[in-house]
Symmetry: C2
Subunit: 722 residues, 2 copies
């Protein structure tokens, strides 16, 4: 369940940036003894917080949270109010989860209804009230039969409304034009709103959320403006008919909800494992399609299923390459300067090409539903245009041949347009478009197999299990298998996750076809590169994200990656006593490092602790303003007890309280694969390197990512953030 787990809404960003100030300021740096000597009794604003686009220190944050929890538990034994506080603290987690579920569920429902209404508006209008969508409009009509339930006099297409008749070329042209106009209007509104109010609302948001959950700060990415604008523009983008889905953006919306609701529980900081436990998995699951097949599958069919897997893998690898190439073009050429025009052109192109073909005109979700469906006798869909001699005998008829042609064209169109759509400055998901591609390919292959079996039922392949009259091949199942293969190829979610997502639509008996196709798809796609689309976008944007599955297959050691390199000047360190405020300030000003190790003495290089640049600057600044006698000549002291000094010297500035007394260290001989593992599993930001007990250098997450880029022959400067 790695996707639903890793994508679950969390409030890590705000959690880390807002919560830390209180607990850190309370002198609880995770280090008991430091409390005793902490001179900063009042909370210093900003101490212990992070800058934007920076990586948090995961272990520290968790440790602070536990300190807070201990404090509450301790107090709860003292008074009833504190006890109540402790109980509400324990239960706020569950309440938060419930609220997040309700809020994101309500938003998802609202988005669905609104998108449905706007999509229908491209076709026509309801005369009894413009706020009805096509289906609702006809519910009120008594004149419709079950068969024609989507046709009623109350609903008029734009052509009908303007020309007075629903027949004829003129009405068709009017419909066509109105369709394009609405598509342009919706997409224009979507891109303009995103640009004007919330630039973070574009895209699917999943690469960024993965990075944020791994401990990166992007302020406002999960904020209220992003939530509001993403919700509105998602409706518009989906309605405009662009080749995009709403599932990825819905995860972003749910994460925004979680983050915003966290503000209601400033005291809520239970560990993240609990939050993930109950989870909003339902959110992810609700997007599924409900189908039931009744025919069993035969071992021979594994061959076409594996073929679909190969198709899915090839398409996944190709899509990722093409999409990343296109995004690079957008970044590097003038195209990137005209996002509004880009969206309008793509929307117009999509509408222009999509309208004449009924399979591209319908929404992606409708298309998939139709492709998954099995044909029953009553089915009037073109896809079921068989010469129906007998229920189970299915020679293809005229209607089906037309449908196959249209589907083939739709496949080519979808494959091309999705490449240029994903990455535009509107909210856009990938699940539906990639599943649609797979479903079309699967359905085509399924019908092909069906006809092959019908005309060759005596051949050795089909003999025995697919005799005439037997309902042996289910094209809808092929569509489902194809959709799973393509989804797996593009996203590289784990095989079991893809299978779980689809299993719900079928049942246990289809686990083998799904498994075979998704495993093949993963193998094939991995052969062209191990990154899924989200990881590729993370790298494209230079986010500091250590891919958990990526193997580090190089035999370098920590000493090869750490800074300073052999030719560089020595590491900038502070000494635990003996430096003056002026010297410390000069050292900090002359470098751009975000933290400094503290050593016993420059000669011994024995490590005492680690101080963050931001904390250091804020503390000195604060001391200069508030503490008397702190001047540039005052000594800075990181030890527990200050050394005796001359009577006329200014009082020392004691900063042990802001020092991290337990910095992580590895030896210079530690293989980098172990170091990378430590960074990944513990969520570190930096790690100090020692040799025989002496401090030698420092490795940050950015250093590791740069090193990995270098090994893979990529530009190490593509890693932008720290």
């Amino acid at each position: 369940l790695s996707l639903s787990l890793s994508l679950l809404p969390g409030c890590y960003e705000e959690y880390s940036s807002s919560s830390s100030s209180t607990s850190r300021a309370a002198g609880m740096n995770g280090n008991g003894p430091s409390k005793l000597v902490d001179p900063l009794e009042d909370p210093v604003p900003g101490l212990g917080t992070y800058e934007d686009f920076n990586t948090i220190d995961w272990v520290r944050e968790k440790s602070k949270d536990r300190d807070r929890h201990r404090e509450i538990t301790k107090k709860s034994r003292q008074s009833t109010v504190a006890l109540l506080h402790s109980v509400s603290d324990a239960f706020s987690g569950w309440l938060l989860m419930l609220l997040v579920g309700l809020m994101s569920g309500a938003l998802a429902g609202g988005i669905d209804i609104a998108a449905h209404w706007l999509t229908d508006m491209k076709d026509g209008v309801c005369l009894i009230g413009f706020w009805f969508n096509h289906e609702h409009c006809c519910w009120t009509s008594n004149e419709t039969t079950f068969q024609e339930r989507d046709r009623c006099p109350q609903w008029q297409s734009w052509g009908e409304l303007i020309t007075g008749t629903s027949e004829g070329a003129f009405a068709y042209v009017v419909n066509y034009l109105m369709y394009i106009l609405w598509a342009l209007l919706f997409s224009f509104l979507a891109v303009i709103l995103v640009r004007a109010f919330a630039p973070y609302a574009c895209g699917s948001g999943i690469p960024e959320i993965k990075t944020i959950l791994s401990g990166f700060i992007i302020r406002g990415y999960l904020g209220k403006w992003t939530l509001i604008i993403k919700t509105i523009t998602l409706v518009l983008a989906v309605s405009s008919g662009l080749s995009l889905g709403k599932e990825g953006p819905l995860v972003h919306v749910a994460c925004c909800c979680a983050n915003i609701l966290c503000h209601l529980f400033t005291k809520y900081r239970k560990n993240e494992a609990k939050r993930r436990e109950v989870g909003v998995e339902a959110d992810v699951r609700l997007v599924l399609f409900y189908v039931e097949f009744h025919a069993p599958w035969h071992l021979v069919e594994l061959a076409p299923f594996i073929l679909l897997g190969i198709f899915g893998g090839l398409w996944g690898a190709l899509f990722i390459r093409a999409n990343i190439a296109w995004c690079k073009i957008r970044k590097s050429t003038r195209l990137g300067h005209y996002p509004v025009i880009e969206v309008l052109v793509v929307a117009a192109l999509t509408a222009l090409v999509a309208y004449p073909n009924s399979y591209t005109r319908m929404s992606g979700a409708e298309l998939i539903s139709e492709l998954f469906n099995d044909c029953s006798l009553l089915d009037s869909s073109q896809l079921c245009g068989y010469k129906q001699v007998h229920l189970a005998d299915r020679p293809a008829g005229e209607g089906l041949y037309t449908a196959l042609w249209q589907l083939a064209l739709a496949l080519v169109f979808k494959m091309m347009i999705t490449v240029i759509t994903f990455g535009m400055k509107v909210p856009s998901g990938l699940f539906i478009p990639s599943m649609a591609v797979g479903a079309i390919a699967g359905r085509l292959l399924g019908v092909g197999m069906e006809q092959l079996a019908y005309y060759n039922h005596d051949s050795f392949i089909f003999k025995g299990w697919c005799s005439p009259g037997a309902d042996c091949i289910t094209p809808g199942l092929y569509a489902m298998v194809g959709a799973a293969a393509c989804l797996g190829g593009v996203t590289r979610m784990t095989v079991s996750l893809v299978v779980i997502m689809f299993e719900l639509t079928g049942g246990l008996e289809y686990i083998v076809p799904l498994m075979a196709a998704t495993m093949t798809s993963k193998w094939v796609a991995d052969a062209f590169g191990r990154e899924g689309i989200y990881e590729a976008h993370i790298r494209l944007n230079g986010y500091p994200f250590l891919e958990p599955k990526e193997e580090f297959d190089h035999s370098s050691l920590a000493v090869d990656v750490m800074r300073p390199r052999r030719s560089d000047p020595a590491l900038a360190v502070l000494t635990q006593d003996g430096m003056t405020v002026g010297e410390v300030e000069a050292l900090v000003e002359s470098t751009h490092y975000s933290g400094f190790p503290v050593v016993v003495s420059p000669e011994s290089q024995r490590l005492v602790g680690f101080v963050l640049r931001r904390d250091l600057l804020i503390s000195i600044d604060n001391a200069r303003k508030r503490q008397e006698g702190v001047v540039s000549a005052s000594t800075v002291v990181f030890t527990e007890h200050a050394l005796a000094q001359a009577a006329d010297a200014p009082p020392p500035l004691r900063l042990r309280g802001i020092m991290d007394l337990s910095p992580f260290t590895v030896t210079d001989h530690t293989p980098m694969d172990i170091t990378v593992d430590i960074f990944r599993k513990l969520g570190l930001r930096q790690c100090l390197v020692t040799h025989n007990g002496r401090l030698l250098g420092i490795i940050t997450k950015k250093d590791i990512l740069k090193h990995m880029a270098q090994i893979a022959n990529r530009d190490p400067d593509s890693i932008l953030f720290n």
Copy 2:
């Protein structure tokens, strides 16, 4: 999916103990430079392996695996044979997984068939062939109607066979006695086989597997004898009618299969994440019950569902306490010396009490199936003994009242007998018995609600949704909810896992009832203690297992936990040069530590590396035998270059190759919660403690577990292994 993930078959044990010798002996200690100075060119047998009942060093093992992989990849560029080797290496993982799935699936099927046959043998025999079970026996009969398909002349109960009639008290008594005799025979065989051939085959095996997967060595626990004996005795134990299930032991069987099949792929050592990916989840799922309900549930029903959750939680907490107390009695009194007699007494007691009551006489799985089932018109089961005026109106009739009484008695009996059954020296699982308890309670409550609604359909509670004639309350659903609640209460699996397991039997519409009941159950049970039954047994047995979810809520620091304590003698360390072979041997002999830090000099205490006792002894032993001139006066050198020494001195013994050059260190100020996190996430065995760059002490996994036991006011000496 934490359970199915954490319980997936892996070959960690053998992997760690058999694979390491090759890679370590190849001089690839994960430390590039050490290769250059490694004097041991031939593999030394035993070097790099572990003793039984010891914890492995996870990080090192993984690192060695990566070294091996790199080696193969490098070689594959040189020759075609090596390339083929590399490809087969990559694919062996998938093949292994497939084989494990097939083998454990086949065994599970075989166990099922055999247990079915033996269970029926307790009742009677098939005259046309004793190898038919009851159902198969009657398949061949033409005389049976659909209604009486389980009665046919070919199948004769023992009473009928002996007395000549199936009626009358005498036949009943004969049946009763035969039932008890067979139960005694089966249970006797089971316990004797376990004791004689494979003591590790008893119990569910899940506590041990959890510990092994976390990096502990129990030789033979996943071996072929355990597999064979566990398979046979599981059939016998299930057939004997004891209150136990076969799902837990099946997981153990699957793990044995995986471990044994790993021997076929000595070259197979891809990382464990891949192995878990595709998984044998199907194995775990196949145990489920297939039910379909059609009636929706109403919000009011959440109240009884939550009630079931409370029951499940209370039962879970109570069961764990009672079972652990009973196991402690078994361990500490003379009861433990007579496991065979214990099993026979419990089996006789179970058979004696179970036979007269049809709900206890049937197997646990049958019972659950029956309780989950909804009543249809044709159903002849006693549970459906309604006065059937109308299909949906269901006033309880005579039959149902009898059934309710029997169920209530069965509930009390099951609750008591399961407590003393789990932990006996036969293979025994807990899923089925705990689900059975919940299902009975749920069914009772469900029928109660149904009757309440029938007789009070005008009250404000039922009005509107449960009017006469409406099929509003489904007792089978209550049984399912109850089963989930009890399973969750006993095992404390994550809520989402329990829901997923049950969801498959119902559908998405029942996710809320299941969620409500399992969440309540978890809360209630956690209030009495946070351990599930498996964790409780792990602790009872003193295994070194760091519970991943358990919060470490104490503010101690690394310095408080490390050894030596303040009053102890100083830490036993080796110096990197200057010690003789004799001195090293004396130091090793005088202590029982499993490893020794190497420092620059006793004065500086600057850490260089870490050497394992076993490796040290084997190397010295080997050098004395094979290397010329190594005597007690030879110096032991851990540096890269030996110091110049007198010309007549014996040549130095260079042991840098066996030294771990990158031992993990934390500072003395590191809070223990962070240290515990590091141990958990990285799978460490030990960690060195430093202060300002000087070595201060060492913390092992055992020290941590002892410390945690002390904090929780438990006996720290209950932690037995290292």
